[in-house]
């Protein structure tokens, strides 16, 4: 038996120039804020999509204040929010928990990739869940050209786990653009990161960031937003 959905995934993404998955081995490092802000910064000049694959803890819809819904037309057309085409599981699960397991996660990803009509994009940014679960495997399998940005904080608890993700991605021949060091206060682990991967830059801890959630333009203007915008330069090389 052949899964009839797989063949259309390549077609759905054929006009997407670059797919960038924002990942981290660890939760709580600000991955969703980073992925959304990378998307917002790129959307100033480029055609950008944002896909939230963090099924257990989707949050990019809150950061963007995404109230518009997708529209059904020969598939699903993602709504445009703050100049970004946006898709998330929350459009189908609303505010309920989504306790998906192994093969359910893969099936949900296949389904979302098969039905979402992104059309032409310069960048599709994917907000990944923490860890090395099914979502990472699915990206490696179905989006062979995907590039990875890995997020860590300077904490050893974060970095030790993130290093494992970097080793895993390297072993699986994934294209890792580099590491963003987020929430930097006094101590930076730049030199540690550089031993393992390309260092994309640091973003200082922004004590006011909570006030920018749901306000995309304010987010871009924040200390955090400006820090991310500088780093986006590396993505464009």
């Amino acid at each position: 038996m052949i899964d009839a959905r797989i063949s259309v995934i390549g077609d759905r993404l054929k006009n997407v120039k670059r797919v960038i998955a924002v990942s981290s081995g660890k939760g709580g490092v600000g991955k969703s804020m980073v992925s959304t802000t990378v998307a917002l910064a790129l959307a100033k000049k480029y055609r950008v999509g944002l896909l939230d694959l963090d099924f257990y803890g989707p949050s990019t819809h809150l950061i963007l204040n995404a109230n518009e819904k997708p529209v059904e037309k020969n598939g699903i057309l993602p709504p445009t929010i703050a100049n970004i085409k946006f898709m998330s599981i929350v459009y189908f699960t609303e505010e309920n928990p989504a306790p998906l397991k192994g093969k359910d996660i893969i099936n949900a990803i296949i389904e979302l990739l098969a039905i979402t009509i992104w059309d032409e994009l310069d960048f599709l940014i994917i907000d990944m869940p923490p860890g090395m679960g099914e979502e990472v495997m699915a990206i490696i399998k179905f989006m062979k050209n995907a590039e990875f940005i890995v997020v860590t904080t300077p904490s050893i608890l974060s970095w030790e786990t993130v290093k494992k993700l970097l080793i895993f991605l390297k072993e699986n021949k994934c294209n890792v653009l580099g590491v963003i060091e987020n929430m930097v206060m006094e101590k930076s682990i730049e030199n540690e990161i550089k031993k393992v991967s390309k260092y994309l830059g640091k973003v200082e801890f922004d004590e006011n960031i909570e006030h920018c959630i749901g306000k995309p333009s304010k987010l871009l203007e924040s200390k955090f937003g400006k820090g991310i915008e500088k780093i986006v330069f590396y993505i464009l090389q």
């Binding site: 899964d3 009839a4 959905r5 063949s7 699960t93 989504a98 099936n107 039905i115």
Partner: protein, 133 residues
């Protein structure tokens, strides 16, 4: 999955697989569709016909709907999709993304959310028949 997107997946997969197996003209496709996909059959068949015209194909598509079977991992109870009392909106969500069932349904016997879809989701090509000239 949306009917048009689904039909597109079927036609493209059939063409791809036929090519791989040296089939030049596809005469028949056997399809199995999970009940949870909740396909509008008229729209789906229309989409298949239109896409076949686009790809210069003329094949008979045999469609079998696979009933849904769910099993609770806590109490082992098995049940079917129609035992759920979902609202129209929830049904619509499940139609687009069958895995959203885990957000709305519980085991009818013990109330657990820890259940699995044993059968009845997905779109599967079971067989493609044709000739090589």
């Amino acid at each position: 999955m949306h009917e048009w997107a689904l039909a597109e997946g079927v036609i493209k997969t059939a063409i791809e697989k036929a090519k791989e197996h040296g089939i030049k003209k596809i005469n028949e496709i056997d399809l199995k569709i999970g009940e949870m996909q909740d396909i509008e059959m008229d729209i789906f068949k229309f989409a298949l016909d239109e896409l076949m015209k686009e790809y210069d194909m003329e094949a008979k598509v045999n469609i079998k709907i696979q009933k849904t079977r769910l099993r609770c991992n806590v109490c082992n109870h098995e049940w079917s999709f129609d035992e759920f009392k979902l609202s129209d909106e929830e049904k619509e969500f499940v139609h687009f993304l069958p895995e959203s069932i885990f957000s709305y349904a519980r085991c009818p016997k013990c109330g657990s959310q820890y259940f699995e879809i044993v059968e009845g989701r997905g779109v599967w090509i079971e067989a493609i028949r044709g000739n090589d000239d």
